[in-house]
Symmetry: C2
Subunit: 247 residues, 2 copies
């Protein structure tokens, strides 16, 4: 379980099925990677990352804790497998490059929203799972018809995925903070800022809160905020593309 003849990280090998399953003896495995990953995702979907411990996972499967380690080198590796499985298949896209990229970003956002725990997984290494690579491929393909250089296309897709991830995370934190959690009243963020933002030291912030920008946005806020950033970024890419056409 620790040697990687191909030189690839263990989790990556498993993701691509390169794991040499040369069974040379022993009892038939009663478990399978698929079952383990599915159960792990289930635990994380309800209860978040904290609910996903090796012992709880084993219990959910009806086995002992250590049995899971026959299939997975470590919890970190398991998380990598869960991530690729959860991100799932990238969507088919059509339209011009901008419509495609927009659809790409929105679809990615939906995945994150459906499985918020993905945002809490400490990223250790680059995405090289099959599904993640398909997402990357689709993003690149959306830009194939443009005049951008190869490197610029890659950077654009990277920029978008960075944006989606960061944006969903920020909004999720914001909403979490404003949501009652243990019978406690939610933190009214506008009130906190109002209390703390002295108009002398923080004139702009104070003007913002007194202008009501931080109020009433609880529902529409996430979508609007996402759209705003996405539009700015795509506008920037558009400007780059145009400059390469005319220049």
């Amino acid at each position: 379980m620790t040697d990687t003849p191909s030189g690839l990280p263990p989790a990556i090998e498993q993701l691509w099925g390169l794991r040499g399953s040369g069974r040379r003896g022993g009892p038939k495995p009663a478990l399978s990677l698929e079952r383990i990953v599915a159960a792990a995702i289930g635990l994380a979907d309800e209860g978040g990352l904290p609910a996903l411990s090796m012992s709880r996972l084993a219990e959910a499967l009806g086995f002992t804790t250590m049995s899971v380690y026959r299939y997975v080198a470590s919890k970190d590796d398991l998380l990598v497998l869960c991530l690729d499985a959860t991100i799932g298949a990238a969507p088919e896209l059509d339209g011009d490059w901008r419509e495609q990229l927009e659809g790409w970003a929105r679809a990615l956002r939906v995945r994150y929203q459906q499985h918020p725990w993905m945002l809490d997984v400490p990223i250790s290494g680059l995405p090289a799972g099959p599904n993640q690579l398909v997402w990357f491929e689709r993003g690149l393909r959306a830009l194939a018809s443009t005049t951008l250089e190869a490197g610029q296309r890659a950077s654009t897709v990277l920029l978008l995925s960075t944006y989606v991830r960061g944006q969903v995370q920020m909004v999720a934190d914001l909403v979490r903070a404003a949501t009652p959690v243990d019978g406690q009243p939610p933190v009214d963020w506008a009130a906190v800022v109002r209390r703390v933002a002295d108009p002398d030291r923080f004139p702009e912030v104070a003007a913002l809160v007194s202008g009501g920008v931080f109020d009433d946005e609880l529902d529409a806020f996430p979508d609007e905020e996402f759209d705003f950033g996405l539009r700015r970024i795509l506008d920037g890419v558009d400007a780059l593309a145009r400059s390469r056409v005319s220049g």
Copy 2:
């Protein structure tokens, strides 16, 4: 240590010095929040977040583990204090709005690079520390001279901070994965992708790697990638500002 008469989260109260230090008896405190936070930051700076445990922190201070809890409600609260202290004072900026925002983003990036563990701190709640609020204020001020609405200015600053954080994190992960860690040879990411990206299923990705886009970038890569995204975003903001002037 658990009651918050002002209704604010405990950590926020401490950040703003609202902690009613009505000492009504008891020995003089031998420790101080400042010393604790400084020691915690020191531990995290060398060794990352895993090196910052309550026991190690207490040991570094020369006290017992539990003594720290006389000054801090929980480790999470401590982390909030550390974050605000580490982000530090926002820089003075000058130039037009674009130059100011660019300087703002670059300065923020430097902070993250100097203290990479900040990226690993699970965000729980919104930034409302004094320093973080100054950063926000400075960002807003950079846009004060533009025609953007108040909400658009806020969204722009939010977009930028989201971008900087996500970008630095992504690059940090990439570099970490490509860096030898325990005498192990580093993971050659280009090689992994080359090995795994079947040209039939992943034509765009394969073209990218065979085009050498993933090679040789180890040093210049982070800066170039950051600049690319930053420029796109600012171009997008610029387009918005211009549209509001002419339209």
